[in-house]
Subunit: 340 residues, 2 copies
């Protein structure tokens, strides 16, 4: 798996840099903001070397292409498109959530203001489509490019539906676990599912195989999000880089918190606690105590494991006896063990 990462990360980065390259001096700052968000330059547009994000989505795309017998090089434009789309959504999410920091740096809107940040995100959205259309330059048949575009577009719509639900949950007292699952299906799982499915499509997978690959991606996407939620409450601050109990302090309606809020015995107490105007260290330890009494950690962990297991089952349907020795399998195993 590490070998695959080392082999494909450099051409992936090169493909993204080609698509996101500036065009003329007049709009240099427009592309500069995009390069800043991608971690390639600082706020004065000078080149920097930062550790990039996980690049999870594009790597899943390239792996899926290889596992069904295709050449990952042919799928590079799709991989770039998926990562650019993911980053577009982060730029707009940061505005919508009012987050002034991401990966220990000020966010785009915090430096250049909301109007330019909305617009830079829009450019990344458009450039994600431009990236995907470059599949035609890699001798991918027109019909396959159109199928990939359709799946990609559906995923963009699903992302906005998930984000709509996430924003609307903030204003509500109570959200059910089912509503929460619907939200993360749009906000996280749809794109991870599409990443695997588009890789399979470019690699020439049969429709039924590709449908199973997509389900694999969606299921591990759901698990991945719940794992984020668990780390947001119980993660080690030394490892995650976030404050202890960060998501409690933000009153984020993540799965463990929703489980406690919906608890028949302790739900009211937990709701009253989160409604306090400013949360102190004492409030935080009281919250952790209520989460323990509602067994929210066990509940979320069990759901996460069930989803990973169902994902691996879908992968077995897709790849049959090659599943367990595949890169997708080991990537899912690796994700299950992550601590950040």
């Amino acid at each position: 798996m590490n070998h695959f990462f080392e082999q494909w990360l450099p051409p992936l980065e090169a493909e993204m840099r080609t698509v996101l390259a500036g065009r003329e001096p007049a709009t240099a700052a427009h592309y500069g903001m995009i390069h800043y968000h991608m971690g390639w330059v600082d706020a004065d547009f000078r080149p920097v070397t930062l550790s990039a994000g996980k690049r999870l989505r594009p790597l899943l795309c390239l792996m899926a292409c290889q596992e069904v017998g295709g050449d990952p090089a042919q799928a590079l434009p799709a991989a770039a498109a998926l990562e650019i789309l993911h980053n577009f959504s982060l730029v707009h999410d940061d505005i919508e959530d009012g987050d002034a920091q991401r990966r220990h740096r000020p966010t785009v809107w915090a430096i250049w203001g909301v109007p330019q940040a909305i617009n830079a995100g829009d450019a990344m959205f458009a450039l994600a489509f431009a990236a995907l259309q470059r599949l035609s330059l890699h001798r991918v048949p027109s019909q396959t490019v159109l199928s990939a575009l359709q799946l990609f577009t559906e995923t963009c719509v699903a992302l906005t539906e998930g984000q709509h639900l996430d924003i609307s949950f903030e204003r509500r007292d109570c959200v059910s676990v089912e509503e929460y699952m619907r939200m993360i299906q749009g906000k996280t799982a749809a794109l991870i599912g599409a990443s695997v499915a588009i890789g399979g499509l470019v690699g020439g997978a049969q429709p039924s195989v590709d449908a199973s690959l997509r389900r694999f991606g969606q299921l591990i996407g759901l698990a991945f999000q719940i794992q984020d939620d668990i780390l947001g409450v119980w993660g080690d601050p030394m490892v995650t880089g976030k404050a202890a109990g960060a998501d409690i302090l933000r009153r984020k309606k993540s799965l463990p918190l929703l489980h406690a809020l919906n608890h028949p015995v302790h739900g009211d107490a937990f709701r009253a606690l989160l409604a306090r105007p400013e949360l102190t260290a004492d409030d935080l330890s009281e919250a952790m105590d209520l989460l323990a009494r509602t067994a929210s950690y066990e509940y979320a962990t069990q759901r996460m494991h069930a989803l990973y297991a169902a994902g691996l089952e879908a992968l077995r349907e897709a790849l049959a006896d090659r599943a367990e020795s595949s890169l997708l399998w080991s990537t899912a195993q690796w994700l299950m063990q992550r601590q950040m």
Copy 2:
């Protein structure tokens, strides 16, 4: 021309309603905001009948398709995509400009807040691509659909470049007329050019003909924007629905104002005037006086006419002796005479 409008507006609206239809009760409000912006429902999502916008871009697309010998019905998905894209850009522009009103109604962000409005705009952006991909359902060849998608994507990027310049101009003391022309090329002309070119493409135009059609669209797009600028200063408030001298009060860096700001004799006086903290009625009449002394009306009008004339010349290159009797010609003539 009126006959063409009456014939094609209903199927165009139907196509847009199909693409923008809601999917499930959980996200009804997400699609409701989109329908509100399109003028189909009120803020409580109850159906209303409002006069729609000009629908200029989709009608130019359908006309171009017909003029090169195609069937406009085949181009309906492209026409819908162009109008949805235009409306996406309005939703985000309203946030970026802080405009709380559009067509005498509160804007999306003014009702549902900035986060949901950014996200509703993103959904429209994605759905514009979904609309365009429906060309495949109308028996348009895959290669033509991909060419249309490429032109459409380039146009989306150009829109964000124009918007980037427009936002950055606000913070600057001085902007040259050349910089302004570059800005409206991206913000207005690129999409009108693409509307005509995509219609021609679907209708089966030869590449050289389609290039001339695109240039026709871009040139009348530039003229159209300058005309907007003229109406924003000298338009009849009874007809435009805007205050007299609206763009002066907003200190908008439109062409007539830039001409005065860059004037060798009166530029400094005009700049000093626009820098006053609150503009009174006396300031407004002083500004109108300076605009008269710098002959800014004549300058802008002359540029507008030259661009319309160059546009008609490009149309002659595209359609030869059929140009003058074409719907595109009469639409350009009709646009030249508009008062709002």
